[in-house]
């Protein structure tokens, strides 16, 4: 039966070329946009190099102080806070402290090179899954001795050293010479907690460690032993926050800092005023936006489908006369529409691959490597099916209600 439905769907598509073009264009364009957004979303929040085990990772990037009058100040936490309080948490497997990246200048052959530098500890390399192309990361010893060593990304290696040797060579950044110990694959700028062009030991900025304020320019990356430990870490963190001592506590001041996944952190900043989680709300909003975006093409497709199916009223009458129930008719047209949507989906995939390639090439997002991986593909497939079902069910239902006698009068072939 399914084969028969698909066969007829295919024939109808070939026969009604204009309708087919309009339908496929609408479907593929809508899906292309959704796929590009999904790829971008996945690239920003999904498991990607070097943050592969996202379900075991938490990030601390905000320290927020709120006073009684509503006055609020927030920013990244200080090294002091992270080292004294976050580093001593017992539930995590590992905690890394690393700086916010800053842009500095380097010169190669009298050409200025703007590089983003990040100061990290040795745990940073243990927690994250960087793809080392050459050499290795710096270790605890280099960090302890504040050695002037650096890990650079592929792009910096290419620009600074060209095709020559890089490992063991010196790179001058912001008038400081570092010995290159490792070269890693480029990390997209959207991965704010890991991204940089050059990573150097955190102890090279030890003068900042003396600042005993709670706000500074550092992040913490927390690794759980397993995903199930995440709630435990959050609990311990919440308890720890109540113990934080402040040098000049003002009456009625509340302190907020949370270990969040990337998406939680985004939701908290965007919707929770930095205090409440709001991940659920973010999902609702994202689903709502997606549905709204799909609404217009869906309505269009419904209309096209109704007129497309209306032309086949005689067929509906014949099928009913020979034993198809209304539900069978609905099934047939839904299958046909899902088939059409899947074809549109294929075009959509091809188009989105093209657009993603264009975004990657345009360098709009530094080091972005947007791609249609299996996760994005699965989401796309799901969107195709939802799109196909929504736009197919209503016309099919409407047409299945058509009285067999009336349907037979609808056409004579």
């Amino acid at each position: 039966m399914l084969k028969n439905y698909i066969k007829i769907a295919w024939k109808v598509l070939l026969r009604r070329k204009f309708f087919t073009f309009i339908s496929l264009f609408g479907i593929s364009f809508t899906l292309m946009v959704l796929m590009v957004v999904t790829a971008l979303f996945d690239h920003t929040f999904g498991p990607q190099m070097p943050e592969q085990k996202t379900d075991e990772l938490l990030f601390v990037n905000i320290m927020r102080e709120q006073r009684d009058g509503g006055f609020m100040s927030s920013g990244p936490p200080s090294y002091y806070f992270l080292n004294r309080y976050v580093h001593t948490l017992e539930t995590p497997e590992n905690v890394s402290i690393n700086s916010v990246f800053v842009t500095v200048n380097s010169y190669v052959n009298n050409k200025k090179l703007a590089l983003d530098i990040k100061f990290t500890d040795a745990q940073f390399w243990q927690i994250l899954d960087f793809n080392f192309l050459e050499g290795k990361p710096f270790g605890k010893q280099e960090v302890a001795y504040a050695s002037r060593v650096a890990v650079i990304n592929e792009n910096t290696r290419r620009q600074y050293f060209g095709t020559g040797e890089a490992i063991g060579q010196e790179i001058e950044v912001d008038q400081v010479n570092y010995k290159v110990v490792g070269v890693v694959e480029d990390v997209p700028v959207l991965r704010l907690h890991s991204y940089a062009d050059i990573w150097v030991p955190i102890t090279l900025r030890s003068q900042e460690f003396k600042n005993t304020g709670l706000r500074g320019t550092y992040f913490a990356t927390i690794k759980a032993r397993q995903a199930a430990d995440i709630p435990g870490i959050k609990n311990e963190y919440a308890h720890m926050m109540q113990e934080v001592e402040r040098q000049n506590p003002e009456k009625g001041t509340a302190l907020h800092s949370f270990p969040d996944s990337i998406l939680e952190s985004f939701a908290r900043t965007l919707l929770g005023k930095g205090r409440e989680g709001k991940l659920g709300l973010l999902y609702v909003i994202l689903t709502g936006i997606t549905l709204l975006f799909m609404l217009l093409p869906t309505i269009n497709l419904i209309n096209i489908n109704i007129s497309r199916i209306m032309e086949r009223s005689s067929e509906i009458g014949v099928r009913k006369a020979f034993g198809a129930s209304s539900n069978t008719i609905i099934g047939q047209f839904v299958v046909e529409n899902v088939f059409l949507t899947l074809i549109g989906g294929l075009f959509g995939f091809a188009l989105s691959a093209l657009v993603l390639e264009m975004i990657n090439d345009s360098r709009l997002i530094a080091y972005a490597d947007l791609s249609l991986n299996l996760r994005v593909f699965a989401w796309g497939l799901l969107l195709c099916l939802i799109f196909g079902l929504i736009s197919g069910v209503y016309p099919a239902f409407k047409m299945s209600r058509l009285h067999a006698v009336e349907a037979l009068k609808g056409g004579s072939k």
Binding site: N4, S314, K320, A321, F322, G323, A404, S412
Partner: protein, 232 residues
């Protein structure tokens, strides 16, 4: 086989009430070839649609094979149509996008227990019966009117229904083609004992059937036994 009791069909619009059938009582025994005649608009097709469970009467009862079908739901009616009834329409109603073979297979698609191979085999047998076994891969648009109607008959008989309802099956055909189609129906009735009810405008065709019922203004005005094929 088919029993209609006190059938009345009224079409109601906001301003007009049209009586299509009135006080129709008709029994069609199994294996009979009955023709129904009457002027256009006298309710012949409406009656055929009611017999074929495609339409419901405003009042009265319909029995098929001794079963009262008044309370049947859509799914049960569909099942009954599929198992018991085959339709032949004046304008063939073949699905243009399907090949001859696929068109003939159609009723068996709604019988989940029939395999695809079995469907194909039975469709070929049905097409042989109507003399079209060489056209299986053709599409309806590639066939003449007479050939299309033969395909329609093959489609009607593939499910081995007990009843075939034919609504002016020769109406769109020339006399030679019409004769051919009529002969196929007569053979089907005589050899397979299939009950056939045929609506026609053609007196000659009607005279070849066993029984002729005439309608006028929605009412049955005569009922004449012409032959008894079973005894002949």
């Amino acid at each position: 086989m088919i029993t209609l009791k006190n059938i009345e069909k009224v079409y109601q619009t906001k301003s007009i009430e049209t009586v299509a059938l009135q006080n129709v009582n008709l029994t069609v025994p199994q294996g009979e070839f009955l023709s129904i005649m009457g002027p256009s608009g006298c309710g012949k097709s409406t009656l055929l649609n009611i017999m074929g469970l495609l339409d419901v009467p405003s009042s009265g009862t319909v029995e098929i094979g001794g079963k009262l079908i008044t309370s049947y739901k859509d799914k049960e009616l569909a099942h009954l149509r599929n198992e018991k009834i085959g339709f032949v329409f004046q304008s063939y109603h073949l699905i243009q996008d399907l090949s001859v073979l696929d068109n003939v297979e159609l009723p068996l698609l709604y019988r989940p227990h029939v395999s695809a191979a079995d469907r194909r085999k039975r469709a070929q047998v049905a097409l042989e019966k109507v003399g079209l076994s060489s056209r299986t891969g053709h599409y309806p648009s590639q066939l003449s009117g007479g050939q299309r109607q033969r395909v329609a008959i093959a489609r009607a008989l593939i499910g081995m229904p007990e009843i075939i309802l034919a609504d002016e099956p020769t109406g769109n055909l020339d006399s030679v083609m019409g004769e051919e189609i009529m002969q196929i129906l007569l053979d089907l009735n005589r050899q397979e004992f299939t009950t056939i009810v045929m609506v026609t405008h053609d007196e000659q065709m009607a005279q070849k059937t066993e029984r002729l019922v005439r309608f006028f203004d929605g009412q049955q005005v005569s009922d004449a036994k012409l032959y008894d094929f079973q005894k002949a």
